[in-house]
């Protein structure tokens, strides 16, 4: 059954209801793991997919479907596939309030989107001695592409550190930004600390010296309203699989005028205007960046995921997560020997609905292994953020991250399971 579409409901009521309301849409959640009901709390790594998204992809491939290569096709299936593929672009554009669908470039995932910026704008614009400012809290995908480019181009990478409350330190950030800074690239919502970046303020800092701002929105686009008209970023990137969409697709957004300045990266079909043996001319964005047969079913699936989330209402999703996240945080805080990383939910911009923590004296993977044997799926390890782990003096951690289909009751059950696990090792 399709979820009820409500308009800006009272935050508390929405939060109480959303988990229960959406649960029926996610067939995968209704199973047992190790003879206990699955409790999926690894959503910051990947989300589950609602029936509606799976149906949309089945309708593409299956009975009465229209699987076919897109663009240039002159037959009916190709026409339908092209229309659906481009309609999905429009849905994504609408979801983040882009000015035009042509500002959405499909990529495999957010990682590829960052690499795309590094290898097009970055490779074309950045020169020896130019500075790129990041933070120690970045995901590896927002560090390694710049390290690779820095090696090629002789760039200087600078890393903003954390405040005492374990958010990105804006004062330190401001001090790192100089007239040589060409790019500031930061995580909007940290997948490890849960801290939220005041994007407009950072945009002012970056733009003040003529630098551009890229935001890694992997943990914000799925969880809160993100409006690129007010965000302040020049580029944002996000991944489908974390926002109810299929694997194998993600996107880059930039203002069209900026996309136009970016040279091509990968060569092949779709991205060309004319190919001659002596040289080729390239298509306008976004095609310029989409070489080869694209991830068609996946793009269409991501469009359906945007529809699904819009149907719920992103304000409602955010309210639900705010409530669930705060509950998770305070419950964990009440356990002896548990240390949660990142700011409290009372921080000015709040924190994401995820809690990364350690239990004194117990290895994170031991915790997650025991939790798994009771049906609870959480992540443990370095969470693809080794630098911030090192910065905090740890090598790994445990992370629980609820999403739209999780309930307060599940958070309580998780906390109980964690207490049992701690007991197990004591």
């Amino acid at each position: 059954p399709a979820p009820q579409v409500q308009d800006a409901p009272a935050a508390a009521a929405a939060a109480a209801d959303l988990g229960t309301a959406t649960r029926a849409d996610f067939p995968i959640l209704h199973q047992s793991v190790n003879e206990r009901p699955l409790m999926y709390l690894d959503n910051a790594a990947t989300s589950q997919k609602p029936r509606q998204v799976l149906q949309t992809m089945d309708e593409y491939y299956g009975e009465g479907g229209y699987n076919s290569n897109v663009h240039r096709g002159v037959h009916a299936l190709s026409a339908r596939a092209t229309a659906a593929y481009e309609a999905a672009r429009e849905k994504i554009a609408g979801f983040i309030n882009a000015s035009s669908p042509q500002e959405i470039v499909y990529t495999r995932n957010a990682t590829e989107a960052i690499n795309l910026v590094a290898n097009t704008w970055g490779a074309a614009q950045l020169r020896e001695g130019d500075e790129v400012v990041l933070s120690v809290a970045e995901h590896h995908s927002n560090i390694v592409p710049w390290q690779l480019l820095a090696q090629r181009r002789g760039l200087v990478l600078k890393f903003a550190e954390l405040t005492g409350s374990e958010e990105v330190d804006l004062e330190k950030l401001a001090a790192l930004i100089t007239p040589r800074t060409r790019l500031v690239s930061l995580v909007h919502v940290s997948n490890m600390l849960g801290c939220v970046l005041p994007t407009q303020r950072v945009a002012e800092m970056a733009h003040g010296v003529g630098a551009k701002l890229l935001l890694d929105c992997c943990q914000s686009v799925p969880n809160m309203p993100v409006d690129v008209q007010t965000l302040g970023a020049d580029w944002i990137v996000a991944s489908s699989h974390k926002m109810c969409g299929p694997t194998g697709i993600g996107f880059l957004w930039a203002r069209y005028s900026l996309l136009e300045q970016m040279p091509p990266w990968m060569g092949g079909g779709e991205m060309i205007q004319e190919v001659r043996l002596e040289g080729s001319t390239y298509a306008e964005p976004p095609s310029r960046f989409e070489a080869g047969t694209p991830a068609i079913a996946e793009a269409i699936g991501l469009g359906a995921a945007c529809d699904y989330l819009s149907g719920l209402g992103m304000e409602r999703v955010a309210a639900h997560e705010r409530e669930l996240g705060a509950h998770l945080y305070w419950q964990l805080r009440s356990i002896d020997r548990v240390r949660i990383y990142g700011p409290s939910p009372e921080a000015r911009l709040g924190r994401a609905a995820l809690a990364t923590f350690n239990v004194e004296g117990i290895h994170p993977t031991d915790i997650s292994t025991i939790l798994d044997s009771t049906g609870v799926a959480v992540r443990s390890g370095h969470l693809c953020t080794q630098p911030v782990h090192r910065h905090l003096g740890i090598s790994s951690s445990v992370r629980a991250s609820p999403y739209i289909y999780n309930t307060k009751a599940e958070v309580d059950a998780f906390v109980d399971a964690l207490k049992d696990a701690i007991q197990f090792f004591t």
Binding site: H71, G73, A79, A83, S99, Y256
Partner: protein, 275 residues
């Protein structure tokens, strides 16, 4: 145009429609080979299409050609429908009639897009002619305005905005002729839908380098970038995103094609200190 649309709609079977197109194609006047130029070529078609315009008595008469018979038939449809119109009429014509032709069911998007692109090239050519008319009739000398692209473009937006309504041609439409059809349309629609206390539409397309010059160049795109400020009671109780969505919804047509960027400021009268 309307009668043409109706005639075409009357044909029920797609195969019969294709036959009709082949028939239209045969009725096209011969196209001069030397006009098979890049400038006259429609972009983004699956086949090659060329269009040229001729002005007689302030009215445009079209010729078209294609290496595809079906495309030639589509071009013939436009040639027949749009010959004898004034440049203003063509510039102001909404592309709705394309949908009414019922070609979408039988034409694939690539061909359908091609059709739209033909119409757009014709509108562009009509606009160029209108500009030349304007320049001719304007004593303050925009005579050099046939120059192709480059520096002359900056500031053109505002200059033409000012002279916009100086020369109505009594062309039967209820809106007056204008050199800034997109800006006008944005103004009109927002005024109708939002009853704004304040409305400011600024065309800053000229700030956007790399988009080609204002006239004549191949990458011509005209009015593409706007700053809009609206104060309206309709915004009360709406979040910023919802206000923006509302505006985008109203301007759906304008944003679909020519406008690249719309920078919005949306306030309630209270927020603007006007309540």
């Amino acid at each position: 145009m309307k009668t043409l649309v109706q005639a075409f709609q009357a044909v029920p079977d797609p195969m019969a429609r294709y036959k009709q197109l082949l028939f239209f194609a045969t009725k096209l006047q011969p196209f001069p080979v030397e006009e098979h130029t890049e400038e006259n070529k429609v972009k983004g078609c699956v086949s090659q299409v060329w269009v040229i315009a001729e002005l007689r008595d302030d009215k445009i008469y079209w010729k078209a050609d294609s290496d595809s018979q079906l495309t030639k038939g589509l071009a013939a449809l436009l040639v027949q429908g749009l010959s004898g119109c004034t440049p203003q009429e063509i510039v102001r014509m909404p592309p709705d009639f394309i949908a009414q032709l019922g070609l979408q069911q039988s034409l694939t998007p690539s061909r359908n897009n091609g059709f739209l692109n033909m119409f757009k090239l014709m509108q562009k050519k009509a606009l160029d002619m209108y500009m030349q008319q304007q320049a001719g009739s304007d004593s303050e000398g925009m005579a050099a305005s046939a120059s192709s692209g480059g520096d002359g473009a900056a500031g053109a937006g505002t200059a033409e905005q000012q002279q916009g309504s100086s020369n109505g041609n009594g062309n039967g439409n209820n809106s007056e002729a204008s050199a800034t059809p997109v800006a006008d349309s944005i103004q009109r629609k927002l005024r109708e839908e939002l009853q704004p206390l304040r409305l400011e539409v600024v065309d800053n397309s000229h700030q956007h380098a790399g988009h080609g010059g204002y006239r004549g160049s191949a990458t011509y795109s005209g009015e593409t970038h706007f700053n809009v400020e609206v104060v309206s009671a309709r915004f009360e109780g709406l979040t910023s995103i919802k206000r923006h969505r509302l505006v985008y919804q109203i301007l759906d047509d304008e944003l679909r094609s020519p406008v690249h960027a719309l920078s919005l400021i949306t306030k309630t009268p209270a927020e603007a200190g006007m309540a």
